[in-house]
């Protein structure tokens, strides 16, 4: 197979096969001029509402007024900074050098030479004419094996040569067997200190690729992940490229609420932060430069939110980060109240920890002014989650004690005008940006305050969260173990609504307080109903999964005679099959057959008749 330099380097599409990349649509909203208009309108609405609230003529009784002012101060501040960040984000991080590097990422010469056209997962990658080594870490900690299988198989099949590792902190033999079966490297630690960050740091001592990607066990990467991210690293100061967390399981209230709540963050806030060099890592769907991580002494293990802390350290050390709003991995949003509670508690604790332990506004912290502001907003963001409690308490104060946040002389119409100017335009903005306004988001945002309050208290009291759940062997505990405060608040709101309706009936007038309180009661009630239905839904899902797993097992057994993926490392197999390729590839990767005690997956069959699976069969 002689290759002529003047000819086309290799056959087949060089860019992505999906043209245009459907995910690019996500980017277009950021660059929409209408978005700018809506953000400006919403900003005017916010300022109008602020003026209305602060106008001394409108002030009512001090207690509810203080509650409203405190809540709205947090909301308005966060809203203004968010909108400013969104407006700043109208710039594509892909510059000329990125496109140039992407164009020349795959080494067409050796692809052609070794007849790898049909096996994109073995295509060598080049940056600045230098070969690139990429490790892909899949962090596992007791996830169901079917879930892990999907992720690992997809990771192995990503376009571009890479080594896939399963980093199993769950010490599961089933996962080890899975690694052997699909041909990924398997690493098991003796201890599990440092949690996920410790797991990755440990893996970094075993691997030696210049770059490493991280996927949670439930985030299934797209084939284009490396193609879309690796070219950014032509910028030598770039530490990591983060891609969004997209969810494929938005089929109940919790997962939809949790998923949509974050979509604004991933579609608008993070792209905006590129402009400030303050886009931060979210722990999965991310690719790092090894030297950058070495520079800051590994992934940060001091905290449960290793991702934000690692980003903060990298930014402090002067490294750059890039976020692209292209979905390159799809995962699972938390589906149960337990998972949701734990996830939000972890994230909120991480945010408050930054504020406590490394206040971004402190002069000791080495950040640019832009980064300081963005990290400060991140650190205080979860205060927004606490504001619903303050606002929930306002109607009961009026019902029981006749205490009103605004002066009685303020008419309904005036109030509605300014209120809609704020919330109405926010909803309109949501419609414009997200295509719809999700009630699930409203529900989840309203009912989550106990989680954030707990996170706040934990961080400030410096204590570890312990759940009062016994019987750890039980797979699922009741969601009510996690939402006692919500149930009590719901009970309080129901009783208060009854008193409110009774009072209004006696006076033959309908008050705003009763209406508002009833709305809050219904929102809380929707959540409680979801909690009541959860155990049954989980049982159904579990039995479905078991059936799926059985089917998959049967299918595998039936197809065991068929071709299998290279069990150990693609290259080794490939060299065995095609000895003529050896000179071209020899010496490129020192780790081609890295022997470590922990990499327990062993090369099994080197059957000469083995054929590589096509991309289609990998799906």
């Amino acid at each position: 197979m002689a290759f002529n330099r003047t000819q086309r380097p290799y056959r087949g599409p060089r860019r992505t096969e999906r043209e245009p990349l459907p995910n690019r649509v996500e980017n277009t909203a950021v660059h929409s001029p209408t978005l700018v208009l809506f953000v400006l309108m919403a900003t005017i609405g916010v300022l109008g509402y602020t003026w209305f609230l602060l106008n001394p003529d409108n002030r009512g009784d001090w207690l509810p007024y203080a509650l409203v002012i405190t809540a709205e101060f947090v909301l308005v501040t966060q809203a203004l900074v968010s909108m400013w960040t969104i407006l700043s984000g109208g710039r594509d991080p892909r510059d000329f050098s990125f496109h140039h590097a992407q164009e020349r990422l795959f080494d067409g010469e050796s692809v052609d030479e070794h007849n790898l056209e049909d096996h994109p997962q073995y295509w060598p990658m080049m940056l600045e004419e230098q070969p690139v080594g990429v490790d892909v870490f899949i962090t596992v900690y007791g996830e169901p094996v079917e879930k892990i299988r999907k992720t690992v198989v997809a990771a192995l099949a990503m376009r571009g040569e890479h080594t896939t590792w399963i980093l199993d902190d769950g010490r599961s033999d089933v996962v080890r067997d899975l690694a052997e079966e699909v041909g990924a490297r398997y690493v098991r630690r003796l201890s599990s200190n440092g949690a996920k960050a410790g797991n990755i740091n440990h893996a970094l001592t075993l691997s030696n690729g210049e770059y490493f990607a991280i996927f949670d066990a439930d985030f299934v990467p797209e084939p284009e992940f490396l193609y879309e991210t690796v070219p950014f690293f032509v910028d030598e100061k770039l530490a990591f490229v983060q891609t969004p967390q997209a969810y494929g399981n938005m089929h109940n209230l919790i997962s939809r609420g949790a998923g949509f709540m974050q979509s604004v963050f991933y579609r608008f806030i993070q792209p905006g932060r590129n402009r400030f060099n303050a886009a931060f890592c979210v722990g999965t769907n991310v690719i790092f430069r090894r030297t950058a991580i070495n520079d800051v002494g590994g992934m940060s293990t001091d905290s449960k939110s290793e991702d934000v802390w690692t980003s903060l350290r990298l930014h402090q050390a002067g490294w750059k980060s890039v976020y692209i709003a292209v979905t390159l991995a799809t995962g699972d949003a938390p589906e149960t109240i337990e998972d949701y509670t734990k996830q939000q508690l972890r994230w909120a604790s991480g945010g408050f920890e930054i504020l406590m332990q490394s206040n971004p506004l402190s002069p000791r912290v080495r950040l640019t002014a832009d980064q300081r502001l963005q990290y400060f907003v991140t650190a205080t963001h979860y205060l927004v989650g606490i504001t619903p409690l303050l606002l929930l308490m306002v109607p009961p104060l009026e019902i029981y004690f006749d205490l009103r946040p605004v002066n009685l002389t303020v008419t309904w119409l005036t109030w509605a005008l300014f209120y809609l100017g704020f919330y109405g335009l926010q909803i309109l903005l949501a419609f414009n940006t997200m295509g719809s306004f999700r009630l699930e988001t409203l529900v989840m945002a309203t009912v989550s305050f106990p989680i954030y309050i707990r996170a706040f208290i934990n961080v400030f009291a410096g204590r570890e969260q312990k759940w009062h759940v016994t019987g750890g062997s039980a797979k699922r505990s009741s969601p009510f173990n996690f939402i006692i405060p919500q149930v009590l608040v719901f009970l309080f709101l129901v009783l208060t609504s009854i008193v409110g309706v009774y009072k209004d009936y006696m006076h033959q007038t309908l008050t705003l307080a009763t209406g508002w309180n009833l709305t809050n009661t219904i929102v809380m009630g929707v959540f409680i109903i979801a909690a009541l239905r959860e155990p049954r839904a989980m049982r159904l899902a579990a039995s479905r999964n078991e059936a799926d797993a059985r089917d998959a097992e049967e299918e595998r057994e039936a197809s065991s005679g068929r071709a299998r993926l290279n069990p150990y490392f693609g290259r080794a197999e490939y060299l065995t099959v095609r000895p003529d390729a050896e000179p071209a590839l020899a010496g490129r990767r020192a780790d081609a057959d890295i022997p470590t005690a922990t990499a327990t997956a062993t090369a099994t069959a080197t059957d000469p008749t083995l054929t590589y699976p096509t991309r289609r069969s990998l799906k």
């Binding site: 009961p396 019902i399 029981y400 004690f401 006749d402 009062h468 759940v469 016994t470 019987g471 505990s477 009741s478 009510f480 173990n481 006692i484 405060p485 149930v487 009590l488 009970l491 309080f492 009783l495 208060t496 008193v499 009774y502 009072k503 006696m506 006076h507 033959q508």
Partner: protein, 243 residues
Amino acid sequence: MTWSNRFRLLGGALFVLIIVAAATMVFTQREGQVASRTASFEAVSYSVGSDYAGTVTEQFVEEGAAVAKGDKLLSVQSATLLNALKSTQGVPENTAYIVADDGTLTLIATEPGILSKVEAQVGGFVGAGQTLATVERDESIFVLADFIIDPYNFTRIEDGARVEIVLPDHERIEATVAKKSVDTVDGNANVQLEVTSKEFIVGDMDGLVASGTPVTAILHLREEGPLAGIKDSLYRLLEQVGI
């Protein structure tokens, strides 16, 4: 759900019930009463004056002191009076003053009370018919209170309704409605009540019971609705156990 969490939930639910019950009590309490917009002590008083112009020669009672019926208050030496005495017409009888032959007129208290104000000075000249002093009648002090009451509550004001008078030092005096007058503003009743009580004794409560003292009047309305009975029996229970 674990047992410890069940107990937590139960304890929390009890706590919520207690909070709601207490808040509802406060609410029904307030529903049964209206606080005044403005209220202050007022008193029925009478003015003392001379029908004859002259010079004030003597003041018998200090301002603020109590006077009995017939007590001397002020003396006025009047030439006009002397002329009148010498004239054939003479001077008509008057319960408010005593006339001496030398043209001295002595004002006396016609009702017991307090000499609340003296407007003349000894040695000063006073005109005929001018008010020289004011006496607040005993047991005439009352509270004049303004309320803004919605139409629903207006029907619940009973004759002789109970009113609590809260003094500036938070002492309370029980009183009842003596008289009410109403005009309607913006669909709400602007009610003016005269509130009286046997316990209004001028000078009591560190002198706070005196005309002009601002107070808060809390008007108790007729109990209505399903909660009224419950509240009454609860109060009876509390009284029985001695709280």
